[in-house]
Amino acid sequence: MPARNVAMREAIRRALREEMQRDESVFVMGEEVAWWQGTHRVTRGFLEEFGERRVRDTPISEMAIGGMAVGAALAGLRPVAEFMTINFAFLALDAIANHAAKVRYFFDGMMTAPLVYRAASGWGNQATASHSHAPEPIFAHFPGLFVGCPSNSLDAYGMLKTAIRDDNPVLFSESIALYPKPSPMPDEFDEDYLLPIGKGDIKREGKDVTLVAYSRGVDWALQAARLLERDGVEAEVVDLRWLRPLDMDLVYKSFKKTNRCVIVEESLPLYSFGSEIAALVQENMFDYMDAPIKRVAAADVPLPYSKEIELLALPDAQKVVNAVKEIV
């Protein structure tokens, strides 16, 4: 199968476009998705191809975007609602956490809300404090919602397709930093390429330490693994892909082999992805622990504007290497 490098934004665009072509009930709504061609150009060309009925510009109304997606989904459509950035999804947190995630439960299965919230996530590039979040764990807190966080083009393609087709609500977080990042993808697939919800992936094998990550953290983990290789440390990189459900089976299998673990995430350190994975590993793998579990996350601070201290706050591959060296 011939493959070529495709930027993640193109992979997402391709998945979304194919799903809209496949299913008339799939439509996109969000700020600047139509005439502007998408803030991140994921919906470039959509208005031309699908028209205003299925490519709907909304006003700056995140509460309505969040809640209308639920209503439309209850009534039988398959909305793909875009938050221009995940920072703005905070405005819709009630709609997401109280309604998208819960309608099925509080009506005891009478209704389902098959929707996808897409949100561009991450920080950097001097976006400043209020536009600098990778808060996926906040959304993964709520039972009833699934949360997907791809780390490369092919994963993003396969994960988004599944998210759109699944009957459960999904928050799909796309790292802004990864949007332009190319990675190999086949030109065409023999059949639908659908990655299961909640299944992680080993992105690199190793025997000395397990690096658990998602989204952009996978990038740092892979870079760190290459640096560690020079020092004779073989790091295994586990990409969980989904923050809910969590594929802990994959983590435990790796941990049983390496007995050491460093968790890498772009987000803040308290009450975090790292906290959760570390807690689960120690609860379930206590007798396999050969070192304390380390976490690499952003500094516990709102992100500043000025470049030098902004970078100081962010995780990177070297910080992952340093953490690994503290425990091997």
């Binding site: 969040g66 809640g67 009630d94 009506f107 969590l246």
Partner: protein
């Protein structure tokens, strides 16, 4: 629009006495601790608002409301047994005992539910209406919203969205004078709530005396017709709550000034009496039929209580966990999956 026929009026009477009997029974059962919990918002006093407006709908239309939802459910024809069982958190409840008083719904009646976050259901209403517009159907979404909710962001964003996308929503503000304990005058810069429609370029049909079912019906019929053909429309129903905001604020409603106000509403603007008077003035003495409806209401509610009390409670982790997610083959689960729910 037609004037309501005799049969319609008699049926409204049937609905209203059933609601009143159900709600007052709920109130008594709560006092007796046979219904528990902290939330129980009763529709007593509001009956004509729901009965008159929903009479303008057809079967394929949609209905959605907030947490004062018992009356809406009964008007739609939901079984009082399943509703009373839900009040008691029973497995036979309309939401399996998982939703309670504030989360009644019936998909087969296109009743998309009662919702508990003030204003939270308004964008859902817009989304449901979008489906109709998207698929070229002319079904309307009848949306009830309290006066308090008109001050939060959901109201603003949802009405605005309905305007710019021409969504077939009938927005009905049920103005009973209080958002919990805050009078409209203390909560809203614009106290003529129907005028809020103007801010969004939405057609308003103004204020309606919602203790009079016939008046409600008359205006709602116009609104439904407008929504079906054009787009969103708003009506302000002026009504009153007989049992306070909910069971948790009895002290507030027991104040002297509130008691006096309540007494006045109950004596002068009692919706069931107004309807009875209307029936009698137009169709003569119908008291045997009305008495039969009252007796039927008492019997149905008594049977509902009996059924609910005899029903089992949900129990065990299966009942607890079920329906967090839709069982789906595209979800990967291993023995160690976390957060995947059960099927």
């Amino acid at each position: 629009m037609r004037s309501p026929t005799k049969a319609m009026l008699l049926d409204w009477y049937r609905q209203m006495v059933l609601i009143r009997e159900f709600e007052e029974t709920c109130h008594r059962l709560y006092e007796e601790k046979r219904i528990t919990g902290v939330y129980l918002h009763l529709y007593s006093g509001h009956e004509a608002s729901g009965v008159g407006s929903m009479a303008a709908l057809r079967e394929s239309d949609h209905v959605i409301t907030a947490y004062r939802d018992h009356g809406i459910a009964l008007i739609l024809g939901m079984d009082p047994k399943a509703l009373m069982a839900e009040m008691m958190g029973k497995k036979t409840g309309s939401s399996g005992g998982k939703g309670g008083s504030m989360h009644l719904a019936s998909k087969e009646h296109n009743f998309w539910g009662g919702y508990a976050i003030v204003g939270g259901h308004l964008p859902l209403a817009a989304g449901i209406a979008l489906e109709a517009r998207y698929n070229g159907k002319d079904d309307v979404t009848m949306t009830y919203v309290g006066d308090g909710a008109t001050n939060n962001g959901y109201f603003h964003e949802s009405l605005n969205m309905s305007a710019i996308w021409d969504l077939p929503v009938v927005w009905i503000i049920e103005n009973n004078g209080y958002g919990m304990g805050t009078e409209v005058e203390r909560a809203s810069g614009q106290t003529e709530l129907h005028r809020k429609a103007e801010a969004y370029g939405i057609k308003s049909l103004g204020r309606v005396d919602a203790q009079n079912a016939v008046e409600v019906y008359t205006v709602a019929s116009k609104a439904v017709e407008y929504a079906r053909q054009q787009g969103p429309v708003l009506i302000e129903h002026v009504t009153y709550r007989y049992r306070g905001h909910g069971v948790s604020d009895k002290q507030y409603d027991a104040r002297d000034d509130m008691s006096a106000e309540l007494k006045e509403w109950m004596e002068l603007r009692e919706p069931i009496k107004i309807l009875r008077d209307c029936i009698e003035s137009e169709h003569g003495d119908m008291s045997p039929v009305l008495a039969e409806h009252e007796a039927t209401a008492r019997r149905l509610v008594a049977e509902a209580v009996e059924f609910a009390e005899a029903s089992p409670l949900p129990s065990g982790y299966d009942d607890l966990l079920r329906n967090t997610y839709v069982g789906s083959e595209s979800v990967y689960k291993s023995d160690f999956s976390v957060g995947a729910g059960i099927d």
